[in-house]
Amino acid sequence: MKSQISNAMLLAIIINIVYAKAIGVTQGIIARQAGGDMWIVTIFSTLFGLLIMSLTVLIIKRTPEKNILEQTKLLVGKWGEKLIALLMFTFFLGAYGGIMITVVYHLMDYFLPEVPTYIFVALVTIVGVYGIMKGVEVIARLAVLGVFSIIVLNILLLLGSLDYFEIESFLPVLRNGFFNAVEVTKHHNADWAMATLMVAIILPMVKQKEKWMKYSTKALILGGGFILMWPILEVGVLSPEVAGQYIVACMQMARSAEIGLFVHRYELIMVIFFAISALIQVMMCLLCASISAKHIIGGNNLNFLLIPVAVILGVFGYWVVNDHIRAMDLLTYYWPRVAMPITFAVPIIVFLLGFIFKKKLTKGNLDAPS
């Protein structure tokens, strides 16, 4: 892998890739299924994410020059690689649907209800492709800006809605039961899965492998913290019932926030500051999908595959978002069923494979001197 990014950039990318979808669409689903416990669900899920992330970093650390797909190839050969790559591609294809739901419903439903859906999908995908053509490093730099804007957005929203905060809404804690809360984490886990699987692919591009673990877990904790503010505010200000009422819960948050008489609508502030994060999701998802596709087909040229992959993902995304009901059905009921097995299976399988074929690993490392 040619482009090299720093660990701090990795941190930024991880925070960004989770944030946009997690604060709004996911929280809405969680609110519907866990009610006032949504913030606890978010914490649980971040812990799950931490676990999988550590596992992923451990896996990649065994062969620091190779991403998870190349490592699989080393362990079990070409067909194993293709199988894992296919799983990953499926995951990112599905994830793209979720991301499109986030981006399009934020913009379309609240701002431009009369603009046709395809324009949103097409523009966002084109910007994504443009970003990838400029390289991972550029995306990573954009992600740094994304983190700044996430922080600004969080602070502004906090200021705008603290007046209406009611601590009573949090009680009782775990009102729908512990196990329900754990089960509902699957929705947010699917977001974290995007981060872990992406890390599995791009980690070899990151400099200073000894700091990988520190930064990726730090990113998870920071990102989890940034996201956690939202369910807490959504419970305290909106009440979980209202948060669950809407498709995009965070926009509802923004719609009800205000500072004084003048700054009375937050939607615009919200979308401006969150756009970068959302676009980084799009870019990284496209990038990971095309890298997976490259491993399925076996070609070498990433740019060659980029456009077809973008078209596939874009068409799929359009199909998903074109119908609100279908989109939410897919995201609520089907997506966790697809995402969860892949999230857990891919790292665990590769991890175990590594134990079985330990010799190949050490040999592979010798073959590729750093």
Binding site: D109, Y110, F111, L112, P113, E114, V115, P116, I119, A122, L123, I126, V129, Y130, M133, Y164, E168, L171, P172, R175, L238, S239, E241, V242, Q245, Q252, R255, S256, E258, L261, H264, R265
Partner: protein, 395 residues
């Protein structure tokens, strides 16, 4: 380079197709206030107060002729949506809800149910969630059409009326957000502020007929069961109600002097309200504790006493006054309306989640029987600027 060119062409093509949803600000009829009424034939009447920018901002470089700053029109239909659609028959511009400040619902409509009002105004992406929503005793269209207040645009004055309402503290600040939250929420019931028209404005050309112009007054609360209004609270009851739902703010409590005739007023400064549920032997009870620090703002009776002595006497009066407010309100809400609009259930659930599951289905039956003990502690120690009460200096 070629790729960038292709991207650019594609983008520009998209933009050419993309002139959608473009309605400039001067193509919009900006609704400032809206009223929902019921006609005699059962149809819904929606009255919108639309701002006429040229007259609302006369001299912005363009010649606005002297005219009314607002234009009010009514549309009728079987549903709210249809009525609003029909409004467009009279409007040369698109009816636009983005700047709506207030929704007024007539009591008639409120008693029939306001679920369609909630639905329409939360489903629409133009509306703000912090739009005020109130109930009026008579016709909503009268409230919407009336020219009132200090502002050029009456809708704005209604908006401000709400913003500064804590000064009087006789009505809650209810907006679409809180309405929908309490409508959707389990075991809580909505309540809305009430407005009414009172002839209190003075016509400058005819000052002898004092109070000939109707003004809008904000006071009272409409209590709902689910989406149907079940009754209203008068201003004093409303103040008792407010303790349970939001900050009372700087309310004024009028009293009379301890010994002699004459008015005394205290102003609430720093309020604390606590609701403690108890569950013993299958019986639910509550203790409501009010703690408040007040200022003496008026002492209109000649007295030889020192401030400190007067205040000591007054403290218990204030406490009794507040306690009475709350108790009268509780009586009405519990026994007459039988609706848990004061969120007792929520408080109970928060403290006893384990018992709540058994009780929640019967809560409507339990609620009227709940005993609520009211404790009021008043601290009165600030006479403002004066060191001694205003005394007669003649003897």
């Amino acid at each position: 380079m070629k790729k960038i060119m292709i991207c650019c062409t594609f983008l520009s093509l998209l933009f050419c197709v993309g002139l959608f949803g473009k309605e400039e600000i001067d193509d919009l009829a900006m609704v400032m206030a809206v009223g929902v009424d019921k006609a005699e034939n059962g149809e819904i009447w929606v009255t919108a107060q639309v701002v006429r920018p040229a007259d609302a901002r006369g001299d912005a470089g363009v010649g606005g002729t002297e005219g009314d700053p607002i234009w009010t029109a009514t549309g009728e239909g079987k549903t709210i949506f249809e009525a609003i659609r029909n409004l467009a028959r009279f409007s040369s511009r698109r009816i636009y809800w983005g700047h709506n400040a207030i929704i007024v619902i007539s009591e008639e409509v409120a008693r029939d149910g306001i679920v369609d009002v909630i639905d329409f105004f939360t489903r629409n992406n133009e509306l703000r969630m912090r739009t005020w929503i109130v109930v009026t005793e008579k016709k909503a269209n009268e409230v919407v059409a009336v020219k009132t207040g200090l502002e050029v645009i009456p809708g704005r004055s209604l908006d401000r009326l709400f913003r500064y309402s804590p000064i009087v503290a006789e009505a809650p600040r209810t907006d679409v957000m809180s309405l929908s939250a309490s409508y959707i929420g389990e075991h809580v019931h909505p309540y809305l502020a009430m407005v009414r028209l009172r002839s209190r404005g003075v016509d400058p050309e005819n000052p002898k007929e004092f109070g000939s112009i109707p003004q809008i007054e904000l006071s009272g609360i409409a209590v709902f069961r689910d989406d149907q209004m079940v009754g209203r609270l008068n201003p004093r009851e409303s103040r008792g109600f407010l303790w349970f739902v939001e900050d009372v703010g700087n309310a004024i409590i009028p009293l009379s002097c301890p010994d002699e005739e004459g008015p005394v007023s205290v102003e609430l400064r720093d309020n604390r309200f606590q609701l403690t549920p108890n569950y013993k032997n299958g019986k639910v009870s509550f203790i409501a504790t009010v703690e408040t620090v007040t200022d003496l703002v008026e002492l209109g009776c000649p007295t030889e006493l020192e401030h400190s002595e007067v205040m000591e006497d007054l403290e218990s009066d204030v406490a009794a006054y507040i306690k009475k407010d709350i108790e009268v309100m509780l009586e009405k809400v519990q026994k007459e309306f039988k609706v848990d609009a004061i969120k007792l259930g929520r408080a109970f659930q928060a403290k006893y989640p384990q018992y709540w599951n058994d009780l929640k289905d019967d809560w409507d039956e339990i609620f009227p029987e709940i005993e609520v003990k009211v404790n009021v502690k008043v601290e009165l120690n600030n006479p403002q600027l004066l060191e001694n009460p205003t005394r007669k200096g003649k003897d």
